[in-house]
């Protein structure tokens, strides 16, 4: 780190977290939910709306930063940013907040994600653009994919899973175990959508096939809900209501040969079994001065079981050809070497596009998780891995 003029290591912290309930029908607007989650995060931090001078929005959010600002009656916003794409955003949003604070552009930054992902437009219903007569052009790249009936993220990840099975002999049982593990964490979390619904490996195999090899329970939930966090300097966070979840390091990354667009172009890459998460993790661990063996608990972005599996090797927790066996060994369990998705993840807690993972990472660092990893001091929180990626490492404040 000695040749880096500016370092953000440990300088900023997450001081507050807030969330609505997660449901199939919120019966209210995304704006209302974003407002509620933000107010909850501010209250959690012991701050008020007048303290907020920065907002970071996810590019897929239907609530813009200025909509949220107006809803809350904010007076002092001097920084705003939009980050994407989609599920890749959350840690990238943290990166923007850290940059803003370190450059003196703002002191108290709100990040949020609000979506009626079940009662409104559902991810599983088909990608935006599917309803147009002609697709593609202007770097959307859809012209090479959608006309062939490739229209959902599930089909996209099914292709990755199928190739993973070809290259490494990964099995459905190994993917199913990931679903079962996330569900078990949710079963201990009263706020999780799947709190009172158990899932066994038999249940997993009995789930209907959606796009081979991915079955119903390989898919994450579709959720109505909102999450928000408040970020400020670590120094200031220490004076607030909660122990700070220190942002040890954060990183964003693209990769040469990674392709443009947002999702389907990944299929045109040389390898579809290693994602942008791989080069990202090098940058992240370098900035943190840590390695995978230092991580006590991880919140992996899990839109599908295969999504999580791909990250296990990309982040260096196991070798590329051993990810399936790694899962089978129990490594992801509470007693394993890397407990994961301790609130249930996108799979079973709720799908707030990866922002819920940030909140759970903070809980682990505060010691307040419903599946608390004893003595956890370092938590990896990842955002979606495919086309570009972002991730952060939190430490106990």
């Amino acid at each position: 780190m000695s040749d880096v003029e500016f370092s953000h290591r440990d300088r900023c912290s997450i001081a507050g977290i807030g969330s609505t309930e997660f449901s199939k029908n919120s019966e209210r607007s995304e704006l209302t939910m974003a407002t509620q989650a933000t107010l909850a995060a501010l209250a959690d931090a012991g701050l008020t709306t007048d303290d907020v001078d920065g907002i970071v929005q996810c590019d897929h959010d239907l609530v813009t930063y200025n909509d949220l600002s107006e809803s809350l009656g904010l007076r002092n916003v001097t920084y705003y940013a939009t980050v994407g794409p989609g599920g890749i955003a959350p840690a990238g949003m943290v990166a923007q907040a850290v940059g803003a604070i370190m450059s003196g552009q703002a002191k108290t930054i709100v990040l949020y994600r609000a979506l009626n992902g079940r009662s409104g437009r559902r991810f599983g219903a088909g990608v935006p653009g599917m309803e147009y007569e002609r697709v593609g052009g202007s770097q959307r790249w859809d012209e090479f994919f959608l006309p062939y009936g490739l229209v959902t993220p599930g089909q996209f990840f099914a292709l990755l899973a199928q190739r993973h099975m070809t290259e490494f002999g990964t099995t459905s049982a190994q993917l199913g175990q990931i679903a079962v593990t996330c569900r078990e964490r949710a079963n201990a979390n009263p706020a999780a959508q799947m709190y009172d619904r158990k899932l066994s490996l038999d249940d997993y195999f009995n789930g209907r096939m959606i796009s081979n090899p991915l079955r119903l329970f390989d898919f994450c939930l579709e959720t109505d809900g909102a999450c928000a966090v408040v970020i400020t300097s670590t120094e200031r966070a220490r004076d607030l209501r909660q122990p700070p979840a220190v942002i040890r390091a954060v990183a964003q990354r693209t990769m040469r040969g990674g392709q443009g667009g947002t999702m389907f172009p990944v299929l045109a890459r040389k390898s579809i079994t290693s994602m942008a998460a791989k080069p990202l993790s090098k940058t992240l661990f370098e900035r943190a001065g840590l390695g995978p063996s230092d991580v006590d608990v991880a919140q992996f972005y899990d839109c599908f079981t295969i999504t999580l599996l791909l990250q296990l090797s990309d982040y260096g927790f196991c070798a590329t050809d051993e990810a399936g066996a790694f899962v089978e060994s129990g490594a992801l369990e509470m007693t394993g070497s890397i407990p994961v998705n301790t609130a249930g993840g996108n799979m079973s807690e709720g799908y707030i596009h990866g922002m819920n993972h940030v909140l759970e990472g903070v809980r682990q660092m505060r010691g307040t998780s419903t599946s608390q990893v004893s003595g956890a001091e370092v938590c990896l929180v990842t955002s979606a891995p495919p086309i570009s990626s972002s991730a952060m490492i939190l430490t106990k404040g």
């Binding site: 002609r134 090479f144 070809t166």
Partner: protein, 135 residues
């Protein structure tokens, strides 16, 4: 009324040439005339050698099956399940991967030879499509 298949935008300045060639039953890839690198998905600038001298190059239309998925859950009315989406690597341009659609649940094997066929979609556009190679 039969639901209509999704059509590609076929006049984009970077990608339109692919579909213009397909209309003539030619499978083309974007290539750098300076260093020979294939540029896929198609774009105008070659970052390998820094040249803008890129053009469409005709390929033989044979490939190798990289991956596939049998779609079982009905999403779009014009694509009736079950159908199989395939990813094919071109034999004479191995860093170019294209997509195809095969009805039903065909018997497939990773690495099997594939060949292009010309999928005329309602007279509106011709899509290069893929099927297991015959001989």
């Amino acid at each position: 009324m039969t639901p209509k298949r999704i059509l590609p935008v076929d006049d984009d300045r970077d990608t339109g040439g692919f579909f213009a060639a397909a209309k003539e039953r030619r499978l083309v890839v974007r290539s750098c005339e300076s260093c020979g690198a294939n540029l896929h998905l198609p774009r105008a600038y070659c970052y390998h050698c820094g040249s803008f001298a890129t053009a469409w190059r005709e390929t033989a239309g044979r490939g190798t099956l990289h991956a596939w998925t049998v779609v079982e859950h009905q999403i779009h009315p014009a694509y009736e399940v079950p159908y199989t989406v395939v990813l094919v690597d071109l034999d004479d341009a191995p860093d170019v991967r294209l997509v195809g659609n095969i009805p039903g649940r065909p018997l497939l094997e990773a690495g099997m030879p594939m060949q292009v066929w010309w999928d005329d979609v309602d007279g509106q556009v011709v899509l290069p499509n893929w099927e297991p190679a015959t001989a």
